[in-house]
């Protein structure tokens, strides 16, 4: 119950923050908003005074900021995100259109990172201080230090241009997934591995872990029955926090490889000053975080009944 209330408060605050920030963005567009929007809508070859005038007339820009702010927030609370300034389509439709692509990419990336990171981390955590553990530390630090856009760049150069194994960009077929998902997953896995390693090392150092062995269980039995379950809780919680990292990665990578997702839309919306789209996508990402973490809270509470006070 507590979880639900605190996550609800978080969701409302996220909405208010996004609303206020995007309103400020709308109001403070350098230069004239109508011009900006016209440029986004008609392209640089065709933006001229007539186009800007058409936009100004259509959107009714101007007026005092306070009533505008109230009506802006009012629309937001009624979940009316308005229409994209650029395409004229309802923002909600555009997002619905793009969310799927991003969701699949994010899921593939998280899935891949979970296949790579935690098993290595658990192996290292079982033998803290070993050569393998130290090697993993170095490797994960190195991978963590590679920004996702750089990872994508390297993968494109190596896997798709040099080797010709994977398409450099595109969307629609499973083979298009591998490169962007891998670019995201390697960074996530580097961190996952560290979290799993630390969790495993700390679980293995707990009295109950040794006690399980003293009961006569084999190492593998102890790991399977007592290790993994205990490691999964911090890992799961961290995955929730990692969501933000993932979203940032999705934003950058989507722009890199031309992925028709919400992150790509966001960058373009920011660039074209399409504020309703910025608001809609930002809200979707923020609320997505809250939702994912609420689900993880509930899942973690199921696995670890101590948390549910």
């Amino acid at each position: 119950m507590n979880i639900v209330i605190s996550r609800l408060a978080q969701a409302v605050t996220v909405a208010l923050l996004v609303g206020a920030a995007t309103f400020a963005m709308m109001r403070s567009l350098p230069g004239d908003a109508a011009w900006r929007i016209a440029a986004g809508r008609y392209g640089y070859d065709n933006v001229d005074a007539a186009a800007a005038e058409a936009v100004r007339a259509e959107l009714g820009l101007g007026g005092h900021w306070f009533p505008a702010f109230l009506s802006w927030m009012g629309d937001l609370l009624r979940l009316d995100f308005g229409r994209s300034l650029v395409s004229g389509q309802p923002v909600i439709d555009e997002i619905a259109h793009q969310l799927g692509a991003s969701l699949w990419l994010a899921l593939a990336a998280v899935g891949l990172s979970l296949v790579i990171g935690p098993p290595l981390g658990i192996l290292a955590g079982l033998r803290p201080g070993s050569l393998f553990d130290r090697a993993l530390l170095v490797i994960s630090a190195a991978f963590k230090a590679v920004p996702q856009f750089l990872m994508a760049l390297i993968l494109i150069l190596v896997l798709s241009v040099q080797m010709g194994w994977l398409p450099a960009a595109g969307y629609g077929q499973p083979r298009h997934f591998i490169l962007p998902a891998l670019a995201l997953a390697l960074g996530l896995a580097a961190v996952n591995a560290r979290i799993a390693r630390d969790a495993m090392a700390s679980v293995a150092a707990q009295p109950f872990y040794a006690f399980a062995e003293w009961k006569g269980l084999s190492r593998a039995q102890v790991l399977w029955r007592h290790g993994l379950r205990n490691v999964s809780v911090p890992l799961l919680t961290y995955l929730g926090l990692q969501f933000v990292l993932l979203v940032e990665g999705v934003v950058v990578i989507e722009s890199n490889v031309g992925w028709p997702g919400i992150g790509h839309a966001l960058v373009h919306a920011v660039f074209a000053r399409d504020v309703p789209m910025v608001q809609g996508t930002a809200l979707m990402l923020g609320l997505g975080f809250v939702l994912v973490n609420a689900l993880i809270d509930l899942l973690a509470a199921r696995i670890d009944p101590r948390g549910a006070r």
């Binding site: 109950f208 399980a212 062995e213 009961k215 006569g216 039995q221 205990n230």
Partner: protein
Amino acid sequence: MTLLSADDITIRDGATRLLAPVSLEVSPGEPLVILGETGSGKSLLAQAMMGTLPEGLRVGGTVTIGAQHLRAEDRAAFKGLWGRQIAVLPQEPWLSLDPLMRAGPQVAEAHRLVRDLPAQAAREQAMSDLAALGLEHAFRHYPHELSGGMAQRVAIAAARAGGAPIVIADEPTKGLDAARRDDVAALLLVALAESGGLVVITHDLALARQIGGRLIVLRAGKVVETGATAQVLADPQAAYTRALIAADPETWPRRTAQQPAGAPVVEARDLTLSRGGQRLVRGVSLSLHAGQILGVTGPSGCGKSSLGDALLGLLPPQAGEVRRASDLAPTALQKLWQDPVAAFPRTRSLGQTLGDVAHLHKAPKGRIDALLARLRLAPELLRRRPAAVSGGELQRLALLRAMLARPRFLFADEPTSRLDPITQAEIIGFLAELADEDGMAIALVSHDPVLIDRTADQICRLDRSVSETGTPQQVDLRHATA
């Protein structure tokens, strides 16, 4: 017949010898108690017999378990014996149960995986094990839903499910109050009766007395004395054993009661306290005069610390009132904590911390040195960090720090519960001295009713339902141990 024997066990850490050659035997029906203080090597000895010594330590000697002869250094060879030949009882049962698994399966998995019972049979066996310990309802509980005593029983059932004939218990009463200690002793004796072999490693004289059998007294890695437990405790030969027994509160003389003189330093009327929404103390009245020691006792969680904090003014009472003498400076109320390490700033040297206090209270030069001498502390200690000083020394330094503020009331919250008996006797001795010589009023909290009985001028016994105050003669302390 011998169930377990260890021959010439030695343990070294590089060039340092941690354990001189020790040999011992465990026979069916005759428990073996290894008694010693922290750092005596008793736990290392136990670990050597179980094959759980850290890799960094060199171990020599042989261990014979049943028909198997093992070289102590061959740690891996012991693994196969766990659960099957040796059952190990953990120190802290709460921490020894997997927090994310229900109690029943933690017992059943040993039946299934160690004794190869089918899943259903293992579950039924676990159920009957728990039922035998009076825990039939706990099968589906998670460890955090169990009390400490229940967790201990579950742990014992889980440890013994593999059917090992030898039970090794390492400090099974660490941190337990007297009532729980007696429970554990009884459980161990039941285990002895069923399994045959029992080794108990402890620093607790009372537990040793209850277990009986044979006794090995260890000090600084050497055997000081061996013999039948009852005989050694009744007629100790070695000086160290005598000191150990003398430090047992049971053997202390009762304090000569101080008559109240003048106005009370601290006074409580109909005090009701609650913390975190839970009512802890109800309707306590007491008054404490200069030079008096108030003993506060009761089971854990009964509000002993809260009472002290209320007297100090750190916890506002829910009802009733606390009155302090009107001429009392705010800093004349001081406190000692159970864990002295946590009571000092971690990253500063003790000398800096004490210097700051002396400076704040404008203590004359040499005051710290004088107090160091009085508390028999070496001045070199001041150069160290809190974590680099032994618990007994640090508790005395905490006392020193409190004294720099010239307190007239001191609240000592379980100041000796983590200390060895000899150190405990020393600290309590200092507290009594402060009351007598400096006229300090002291509230001393302990879970050990015997200690309170011997030390206090008046006693406040708290329980979840009742509380009574009075002189040691008036308050029935046995009630607290029942």
